[in-house]
């Protein structure tokens, strides 16, 4: 039996301990945030947070998933979006959106350890999160916006969150 702490809940699972965490999260726990991209730790699409650190769940055997795992679903509490997620909506970042789990969680981990990154630090910190729709330009804007929102103690909710309103960028 493997014990896993995910998004605040504890799960006991009867799976092969060498199974990559990604497949357990997706197939046994029904989570949709982390997605398969490469299985090689190169693209970041499968990113989850482990005790606040961004890790690649496609490479991590479930037996070594120690600590508290947070997935994209776990970022928002009681329907309240994390400022990073809110910034993503305000900046209208995603295109297809397939990689955005990795972009958002990489940004979350980056901002938690460096709340006011320089442009260069954003580039470096985000570099391992690949996007084939090439939303990098907006991702970097959203990281800056989230940083500002967190500095102002805001939960986001400024700008383009209003469905039917207009994007204010």
């Amino acid at each position: 039996m493997i014990t896993l702490r995910v998004n605040g809940e504890t799960h006991a699972l009867d799976v092969d301990p060498s199974t990559p965490l990604l497949y357990v999260l997706r197939n046994d726990l029904g989570l949709r945030g982390p997605r398969f991209g490469c299985g090689l730790g190169q693209c970041g699409t499968c990113t989850v947070l482990m005790d606040g650190r961004a890790i690649r769940s496609c490479m991590r055997p479930v037996s070594r998933a120690e600590g508290e795992i947070t997935t994209l679903e776990g970022l928002s509490a009681d329907g309240e979006l994390d400022p990073v997620q809110q910034a993503w909506i305000d900046e209208q970042v995603p295109q297809c959106g397939y990689c955005q789990n990795g972009q958002i969680l990489t940004a979350k981990a980056l901002l938690d350890r460096n709340p006011t990154p320089s442009d260069e630090e954003i580039r470096q910190g985000m570099n391992g999160a690949l996007c084939r729709c090439m939303t990098y330009y907006r991702v970097q804007s959203a990281v800056r916006r989230a940083s500002d929102a967190m500095a102002n103690g805001a939960g986001g909710a400024n700008g383009a969150d209003e469905a039917g309103g207009e994007v204010d960028r």
């Binding site: 997605r35 490469c38 693209c43 699409t45 679903e73 979006l81 993503w88 090439m134 209003e162 309103g165």
Partner: protein, 800 residues
């Protein structure tokens, strides 16, 4: 731009009505889950796509083909006055769905928030072909607008009957019809027809011509079109709640993985199942011809089984293709093949280019090489197929669900009405999913096994075996007269594009090829010269396909990759125009404008005037200083320069300026700034357009600087993100300016058309970057991608 605080009272009312009494503040707070929340109210919405058919009564009946000549196929008004639209398109993340919904709401006179839109389900949406060619806004939005206008007309007639007043005395606004002469008398759309069918027949010889009696509104009356409405699909992509095609799970579903030939053209000799029989959850190995797949209960088991299966393959006697380093020599030396009809394509010729070149004061010659490039989607191919009740349901991100349906039906020998395809969100489209191999494979395995099957490709498989954008070798010659005017242009291209994969054809998808199925004849990709409006009196262009020894079962199979052929031909064409400008000692912008203005003639869509408009707008927005290129490079380590490139695609005109930094020590090129002036006519959603153009530009930078499929003489060796690299955060530009242009000679015309934007700007990037490098260094980069080692080589050769 309209801020939320400035929303009209009417809009506020509409919101309040929709909220059903909850406060506006609550609405704002929960808007992050707007789509999912709303679809529960509005009937079948995005969330409805996630409801699988299993157990639905009537599922064993044939799946319907919605009739495009019935208004009810396109649009339903619910009792609460909300509406659901049904369009036969898919959205690859460019906001097509949001834009279609904006247009249909505008024609219907319904608030945007009161509608949902269903896309790409063969049993629910009319066949508009799915996506391709960036034609959703240009072509498919027209019938969508017309049917919404027709629904409005019918609603006005119903109100006319109810109030016993002529239609002329009625006004419609945001889902409510009022009597103009007695504004107290109103009826909502819901009261007039909610929950009931329109039962109105439409006319049109095909889906694109579909129309009712009503005309669409003039541009001046559109209120939702032209606004940057936030995309409805984004919140669920950000909070993790969206159900994607990769997420589909069905009772009894099993997991499949393919085992690909390790060498192109390899023949399967034998399969030894003994290493996989012991794997827990192992179900079966499938083998048909050279197609091999394994199926297990769990996903990680299937991965292990695919890795462990012992398969003996035999290499082909003849090398399937030359190694990638010999590609361009091979292409120039090969005998071209005929087109699909068997006869070679006739070159296009105007004037007498031979004589003009012979008499030119200056002749410029250059050769350009563009390698195969992969789609390398961020998520490898995947699909789920459900064979319940002797039918087949395929959940897929195939961008063309209708041909996916007919292709799979043909492949399996099933009647099409027993197959349905449900499009769901997935990793990009860009042509890769115009023939989604995984759906065919999942359906085949599901039928053989009698259980729902989820097929998922691995990264090495996707990068090596996805469809490729074809390689080009292009030779150009141009002539200038003594005044520096271009008088001749001769363009000759060779393309490695012999057996182009079609749209979900049962005889060209990979599983069919590996099973030994062949089309009657291969379909060499066509091609033409560059798409520009330059007036050069003597021109010739010719594009000929060449073939490799191996035409089928090859990982170098070609397919449509975003803006097929555009980046390649425009790289050559617009680099060469720059070379001619340099030879004429002319400023690159001025030289282009001179060629565009060399005649007063224009075409029906004013592409010449609209070309001039974008070139001028780009130069102005950039702050272009007119001078010939190159500037004299100084001694500094970082050399900077700017380059322009212009093209049209179908009706959309684009001019892009790139500003680059070239590190003369490392060879790294950084595109620091981009300006893109873009005329696609009427803009539906400015922010959505800007996002789409930004993606086009960055994807273009990626293909210009990094992407190349590499292969040795027997297999593709690009198998992951290290061996087929892509642009990363580090190399994204610091600044991008998108300039939206309306260059129509009559910009306020009420019928201003809306053209496509999903691809046109993409093609301008490679030449803009290469021209900027030339401006910075004086060195001409004629071989894509412009990787550091190649840049260093060229700089060294030029003594820079």
């Amino acid at each position: 731009m309209k801020r939320p605080a400035e929303l009209s009272p009417r809009f506020e009312d509409a919101l309040a009505r929709w909220e059903g009494g909850s406060s506006r503040r609550d609405f704002l707070k929960t808007s992050g889950i707007f789509v999912l929340g709303f679809s529960g109210v509005g009937g079948i919405g995005v969330a409805g796509l996630g409801r699988h058919g299993s157990g639905d009564p009537g599922e064993a009946n044939p799946y319907p083909d919605p009739d495009f000549l019935q208004l009810d196929s396109w649009l339903v008004v619910h009792e609460d006055g909300t509406a659901t639209f049904y369009v036969g398109k898919t959205d690859g993340g460019q906001g097509t769905g949001t834009a279609m919904r904006q247009m249909m709401c505008d024609e219907l006179d319904l608030a945007y928030e009161r509608a949902t839109l269903v896309m790409g389900r063969t049993d629910m949406t009319v066949d508009q072909g799915g996506s391709g060619g960036s034609d959703a806004i240009e072509r498919d939005a027209l019938p969508a607008r017309r049917v919404a206008a027709e629904a409005r007309r019918v609603l006005l007639e119903l109100a006319s009957e109810r109030f016993q007043v002529p239609v002329d005395d009625l006004t419609a606004s945001e889902g409510v019809i009022s009597v103009a002469s007695d504004p107290g008398r109103t009826a909502t759309f819901g009261e007039l027809i909610g929950g009931r069918r329109f039962d109105v027949a439409l006319t049109g010889r095909n889906v694109n011509e579909t129309t009712g009696l009503a005309a669409v509104k003039p541009v001046q009356e559109l209120k939702i079109v032209g606004r940057s409405v936030p995309r409805y699909d984004i919140p669920a992509k950000v909070d993790g709640s969206l159900e994607w095609a990769v997420d589909v799970k069905l009772p009894g579903m099993v997991h499949a993985r393919n085992v690909r030939p390790p060498f192109a053209g390899a023949r399967l000799v034998s399969v030894d199942e003994s290493p996989v029989r012991e794997i827990p959850g192992f179900i079966r190995v499938f083998r048909e011809g050279n197609y091999v797949a394994v199926v297990c209960e769990r996903e990680e088991q299937a991965i292990r089984a695919a890795e462990s299966l012992a398969v003996e393959w035999e290499k082909p006697e003849t090398a399937p293709f030359p190694p990638s380093e010999d590609l361009f020599d091979y292409m120039r030396g090969a005998t071209p093949v005929g087109a699909g009809s068997g006869s070679p394509p006739r070159p296009r010729e105007e004037g007498d280019p031979g004589a003009a070149l012979a008499n030119a004061a200056t002749v410029v010659e250059a050769a350009y090489d563009i390698p195969f490039q992969g789609h390398t989607a961020i998520g490898p191919a995947h699909a789920v197929a459900d064979p319940s009740d002797g039918q087949m349901t395929v959940y897929t991100n195939d961008m063309k669900p209708y041909s996916h349906r007919t292709g799979i039906a043909e492949f399996l020998g099933m009647p099409p009405e027993r197959v349905r395809v449900i499009w769901m969100e997935g990793p990009q489209l860009y042509g890769r999913t115009a023939a989604d191999d995984a759906g065919f494979e999942a359906a085949y395995l599901a039928r053989e096994l009698g259980r729902p099957v989820r097929m998922q490709w691995m990264r090495h498989e996707e990068t090596a075996w996805d469809t490729k954008g074809p390689a080009f070798a292009i030779d150009l010659r141009g002539g200038l007269d003594e005044a520096g005017n271009a008088v001749a242009l001769d363009y000759r291209a060779r393309i490695a594009n012999y057996a182009h994969v079609g749209y979900n054809q049962a005889d060209t998808v990979l599983i069919a090829q590996l099973m030994g199925i062949r089309p009657e004849r291969p379909s060499p990709g066509g091609g033409r010269g560059t798409d520009e409006m330059y007036h050069i009196p003597n021109r010739r262009d010719e594009t000929r396909a060449v073939r490799f020894p191996l035409a089928f079962e090859t990982p170098l199979r070609t397919g449509n990759l975003r803006d097929p052929n555009g980046p390649q031909t425009t790289f050559a064409g617009e680099s060469f125009i720059d070379e001619m400008a340099a030879a004429a000692n002319a400023d690159p912008v001025e030289f282009r404008l001179r060629l565009l203005r060399a005649t007063a003639e224009d075409d029906a869509t004013f592409r010449r005037a609209r070309s001039i408009a974008v070139v001028e707008a780009a130069a102005e927005a950039y702050g272009w200083d007119a001078r010939p290129s190159p500037r004299a490079p100084g001694d500094e380590r970082i050399l900077t320069g700017r380059g322009i490139s212009y093209a049209y695609r179908i009706q959309t005109t684009v001019a892009t300026i790139a500003e680059v930094e070239v590190d003369r020590e490392s060879g790294r090129v950084w595109v620091k700034r981009m300006v893109c002036a873009h005329d696609c006519g009427l803009v539906i959603n400015p922010d959505g357009l800007e996002n789409t153009i930004q993606g086009n530009l960055l994807h273009g930078i990626s293909r210009t600087l990094f992407e190349e499929v590499q292969f040795d003489g027997e297999k593709v060796t690009s198998v992951d993100w290290r061996t087929h690299p892509t642009l990363t955060h580090r190399d994204a530009p610091e600044r991008i300016d998108v300039v939206i242009v309306n260059g129509d000679p009559n910009p306020d015309r009420p019928d201003l058309p809306h053209y496509g934007a999903g691809e046109p700007s993409h093609r301008t990037v490679p030449a803009a970057v290469a021209n900027a490098i030339h401006d910075a260094t004086g060195v001409r980069m004629r071989r894509i991608p412009l990787r550091p080692e190649r840049v260093l080589e060229e700089l060294a050769a030029a003594g820079i």
